[in-house]
Symmetry: C2
Subunit: 445 residues, 2 copies
């Protein structure tokens, strides 16, 4: 048991747990050294738990003669992941280390994009013929299990043309009478995944059907491989990371935070930040239009950051909720009108709450400290009325932007909080000064 394991003496190097712990902090040569200190069978287990990225880096740091025995440990789909993480020029040399049938399998898998069902699948699955008896099938599978099949949880029943006739779970096979033919116990309502389905849809399908594995088929309905639920955990995590990073207003990093190069990190952040900055420049253009009003009533400028940030914050909330609901499949394009109705109500409610707080604050300070001059009641009214307008508008704009982006074919997660805030800032300025001009006309303005 792991808990009972004793720490190895230090001169023998780190144990696998310590090495895994220290891994992100080690430079390549220290990683290599730590790895080579492990006993062979421990090192093998350790190697399997590394990410494909780390596996690729480690392998390339090894002397060429040692690489083969490590690469050949991996299943074809894991080799593919590793190759996709390796530098372009290393791929062919690595591929040449495999045996001929595996090379063919890997090349076939490499043809699929990494984020499609075909790129996720394993080609090593358990299969039987429909006319086998349960006992024959179990014996046959026992032989297949000696080879490296990905999962024996489901066994697929295929015809001679590789078409799927049915599926039988291992538990069902096990529980059945030994003399029954497989055909009689298999289920025929098999949920299949087209090979070019993108990984986010595949993970939705898993969530919906609650299966441990699903077969991947080509256009002709021929079985090509299986996707297993443990690959889906990685997909879900990866997609969530991408969405979170986009919502935060950067490009997706596509690499662990501490490992990505500084130049690359600045580039990914600068692109969005500069775009937002250019958009935000419109605020100074908008402000320019109200320069005379500000000069006449400087007190108006005091509430400007408060008002535009309230619009930005309510927009961030709305856009984030809608983006996530879309990613989870809870909200679809055609639900836009239901979302509009909900967000108008929510925006009004939230606007009224903020307006009430703002009104109270300005009235109290104006009345007791004389902070805002003699017209503080009018100022309080102008600020509150603007808040309702700005929050309502921010909420609506924030909730609709993901729909517009998806409708245009972009990723709705690009409707990041900063993007919405920028959009709402310019209109916030316009709403504020328009409302203030009306209310303060003849007094302050």
């Amino acid at each position: 048991m792991q808990e009972a394991r004793e720490d190895p003496p230090l001169d023998e190097g780190l144990g696998p747990e310590e090495l895994a712990e220290a891994w992100p902090l080690l430079d390549p040569s220290a990683r290599l050294e730590g790895f080579r200190m492990l006993e062979r069978h421990v090192a093998e287990d350790f190697f399997f738990t590394l990410s494909s990225r780390d596996q690729a880096e480690l392998l390339i740091d090894l002397p060429p003669l040692e690489r083969r025995s490590w690469l050949r440990q991996l299943a074809p789909d894991d080799v593919v992941d590793l190759l996709q993480e390796a530098p372009e020029e290393e791929r062919d040399p690595l591929l040449s280390l495999l045996d001929a049938p595996t090379t063919r399998e890997v090349q076939a898998l490499l043809a699929y994009a990494e984020d499609k069902a075909g790129g996720l699948m394993s080609t090593r699955y358990a299969r039987v013929r429909p006319d086998m008896t349960v006992d024959e099938a179990i014996t046959y599978l026992r032989r297949q299990a000696r080879e490296d099949i990905e999962t024996i949880y489901y066994t697929y029943v295929l015809d001679a043309g590789q078409k799927i006739l049915g599926v039988v779970s291992f538990r069902e096979l096990f529980a059945a009478r030994g003399t029954q033919p497989v055909r009689e116990i298999m289920r025929t309502d098999v949920v299949t995944v087209p090979e070019d389905m993108d990984q986010e849809s595949v993970s939705r399908l898993f969530a919906r059907h609650d299966l441990a594995a699903m077969p991947v088929v080509d256009l002709g309905g021929r079985m090509k491989g299986i996707v297993t639920v443990d690959d889906i955990v990685d997909v879900v995590e990866e997609e969530a990371t991408e969405d979170i990073q986009k919502i935060g207003g950067t490009e997706a990093l596509d690499a662990p935070y501490l490992e990505i190069g500084m130049f690359e990190m600045i580039r990914k952040r600068a692109v969005w930040l500069a775009a937002l900055f250019l958009g935000e420049m419109l605020t100074s253009t908008a402000m320019k239009a109200y320069e005379a009003e500000i000069a006449q009533a400087v007190v108006l400028a005091l509430f400007l950051p408060l008002i535009i940030s309230s619009g930005g914050n309510s927009g961030s909330q709305a856009t984030t909720l809608v983006i996530r609901a879309m990613a989870l499949g809870e909200v679809r394009l055609r639900d836009w009108w239901r979302v509009v109705r909900r967000e108008i109500l929510a925006g009004l409610g939230l606007g009224l709450i903020l307006a009430a707080i703002g009104l109270l604050r300005i009235l109290v300070w104006g009345r007791f400290f004389g902070t805002y001059g003699e017209h503080y009641v009018l100022i309080a009214t102008a600020v509150s009325a603007s808040l309702i307008g700005v929050v309502l508008w921010g909420t609506l704009a924030g909730s609709m932007l993901p729909f517009v982006l998806r409708w245009l074919g972009f990723d709705p997660a690009s409707a990041s909080a900063p993007f919405v805030a920028t959009l709402v800032d310019v209109s916030g300025i316009m709403i504020y000064f328009t409302v203030a001009s009306r209310i303060l006309h003849g007094t302050l303005l």
Copy 2:
């Protein structure tokens, strides 16, 4: 095959796929009606794919006499999930529908918090004794498979006191010689999960060890159940949703967007929005301190939204990247100094880029359109210098806030983009006016 399934005639109701599709849009009575139109075995499959929340709602809408046969279909851990989604007053009546041993199992599971390993686990796992032969074990498991065990992917080897001696994967058992004792082929380095481990840590453990299931043990090392990877998919998705909603500046909704009540939704959003609004009020206090400067040089106010939003945007980026890296276990508390060093560099780089763009813009407009009066070069200098300061500060503050929150024992994801933007707005105003006063002293001010 699903693709080949024909649509049922309309007067027979919706098929299971159409019903699943329409589900979120239907009201309770339409759901019930659609459900009862399904053939019994189709309805069973359909029932299993529903979320625990939907299962609970559907069950409560059924006449009391029909409830039992549905509830008894579920495994104990699924019953627990269903009960946790049911209203308080319905739980005991539902529990009384189960048979006595299942009631005991469910009550034991209910004692665990929903988000702990014990709350995720299933108590129905495959177990054998160490001195059985492989053939005996397979026969024995074949009998167990007829009962409802959660997964047969791993078989646990237990001693008489329920302590785990080892684990053998089904594939290994299958591939082994029939006469070997299980003891000889089992692995003894079993990774175990303590029953009170929180679900986020459990999902990290799954990611690290790449296993399909893990045994849950109590303090005495006795096996209590297993957690399977398909439960982890839901955990990962749930945790990501919570983080994303917090990053967007709301409390986690804990319910699908379209299903949560309007009052509840406004409440969850209003709490944060009002808190941010109160914080943002400090901006008008800060502005008040510079009222004289604004009155003297209104042109300064024009760039205020641009500058504070740049600070907010760079802060959002930094905080989001750090929150996600923490959630993925890539960055730990003790890495704070490495993050500081990276973010100082990134902040300086990003600040310089925005400053250059801002400088260029003001110089060009000032030179060719005379937009900003005679002192446009000084204004351009003041804006650019402030941008470097504000972006650097926003980046640093945004990246450190998640560390401070985690260190204080809060969820780092509460360092939402709007929270950071609010924090940075006030300091942005101070940085801008301080820098501008220095640079413009004797000319505009």
